[in-house]
């Protein structure tokens, strides 16, 4: 285990830890988005999907714990590496000019903590419901079937006319979601591209492909996820297929 600990504590070892944890979280983001896009198929489709996810509590909790551990590992490795970077340059430059880095790459240490806050808010909003005006949890019906209300919950979460809250608060929540998704796109765009290099999956031949893949996925995540609150705001999701 000695060699493993030495590797795990090395700078590249920590980068690889960050890349692998990030890769799984990245896959979760894609799966989560694809699942949620079923909101466009109507209330029945989304609610059945929600009931399917809730049907096996043991698997659900295993997935949740794995994700939580990966989030902790991802943050831990980034904090250790950030501290090492600070130690490596105790005295900064009076003037420093960028020639190649991107806004996304330079703001990873800012977008990350904001995304953490967003994830906490998102869980309180649409999973736990403590900041949701009227979250309906899944319930077992008289027929024995599990009935979920994901569609109604999403509609109420983003609609400006939801009872029990104000249009200003709802507008603020939608704005926060959209800003968070833009940051997520930037974070994952740089993260996905970096992941290839950190895991050594680089070859001059595939470099352009890796870059294009990272950009495309970032755009898809932003557009896909933002489409949901925007669909509620424009009435595409809500009244028609809802109640």
């Amino acid at each position: 285990m000695n060699w493993f600990m030495r590797f795990a504590k090395s700078t590249i070892g920590l980068k690889i830890t960050m890349a692998i944890s990030g890769l799984v979280l990245f896959a979760f983001v894609i799966g989560h988005m694809v699942g949620n896009l079923q909101v466009f198929l109507g209330a029945s489709a989304l609610n059945h999907y929600a009931a399917f996810l809730q049907s096996e509590q043991l698997l659900l909790w295993i997935a949740r714990i794995v994700l939580l551990v990966l989030v902790v590992v991802h943050i831990w490795s980034s904090v250790v590496l950030t501290l090492r970077a600070k130690v490596a340059r105790p005295q900064g430059y009076r003037k420093w000019q960028s020639k190649a880095s991107t806004y996304a790459s330079r703001t990873m240490r800012v977008s990350g903590p904001i995304l953490l806050l967003f994830i906490i808010f998102h869980l309180l909003h649409l999973t736990i419901g403590s900041v949701h005006p009227d979250l309906q949890h899944c319930a077992v019906q008289a027929s024995g079937d599990l009935q979920c209300f994901a569609y109604q919950n999403v509609s109420a979460a983003f609609s400006l006319s939801t009872a029990g809250t104000t249009a200003a608060i709802q507008g603020g929540i939608v704005a926060f979601y959209i800003v968070a998704m833009l940051l997520l796109g930037m974070h994952l765009g740089h993260g996905a591209y970096s992941m290839f290099r950190t895991l050594g999956l680089t070859n001059p031949r595939y470099d352009k492909m890796a870059r294009a893949f990272a950009t495309a996925v970032a755009v898809i995540i932003v557009v896909g996820n933002c489409s949901i609150p925007l669909a509620v705001l424009t009435g595409l999701v809500g009244q028609a297929g809802g109640h």
């Binding site: 000695n2 970077a85 003037k95 290839f196």
Partner: protein, 250 residues
Amino acid sequence: MNLTLHVWRQKGPSDVGQFQTFQATGVSKDQSFLEMLDVVNDKLELAGKDPIVFEHDCREGICGCCGFMVNGKAHGGQPETTVCQLHMRSFSDGDELIIEPWRSAAFPVVKDLMVDRSAFDRIVQAGGYVSVRTGSAQDANAIPISKEIADRAFDSAACIGCGACVASCPNASAMLFTGAKINHLGLLPQGQVERFSRVQAMTQQMDAEGFGPCSNHEECEAYCPKGIPVEVIGRMNGDLLKAQLRGRDS
């Protein structure tokens, strides 16, 4: 042309250091940046003052001795140009230039703009060698090497160890340097014997010297006077991962 220079002055590694302003007058556009500083230094010496210390040797852009930041850009920021090959025609009359040494905990300032890059030597000493048969010379071209591999190895071998990658990296990381030194041997058949022990030993030394991590900003590649590609970092990472998976312990 006339320039205003804000130059970092530091008496030694333990001195705090500060910026000092100089006027460079009558600068010719055909002078190199170092020649411009030579003229400033001549005047300082005539006035009995301490000249600005900077490292230099070949002044042809191939030795790797010179290097400092000009207006926040390593070697002045011209594509694939060391500061000795940077010419004053890149600047205009009246320009204000901020001239700073490489800033890295692993590169302590010796004096003014000169830093101690022995950390690079120690990284190379940790594994930058190959085992060869000594004795009578081998036949030429006894080991076939494809053009593609020879080109990539040569791209890495072009590194002159100037330190611009560390200086320009927001994390003061030495991954481009270490990756270049690992790859120019690791790509070639002669370098295969120590390929995996080399990557472990050299990256361990890189960490021990206190260089930062890579965030894939790619500033190093952009400021490298030899155009070393960031691909070398990916290959180093991959080799280190393979070394671990193979269970080799250096």
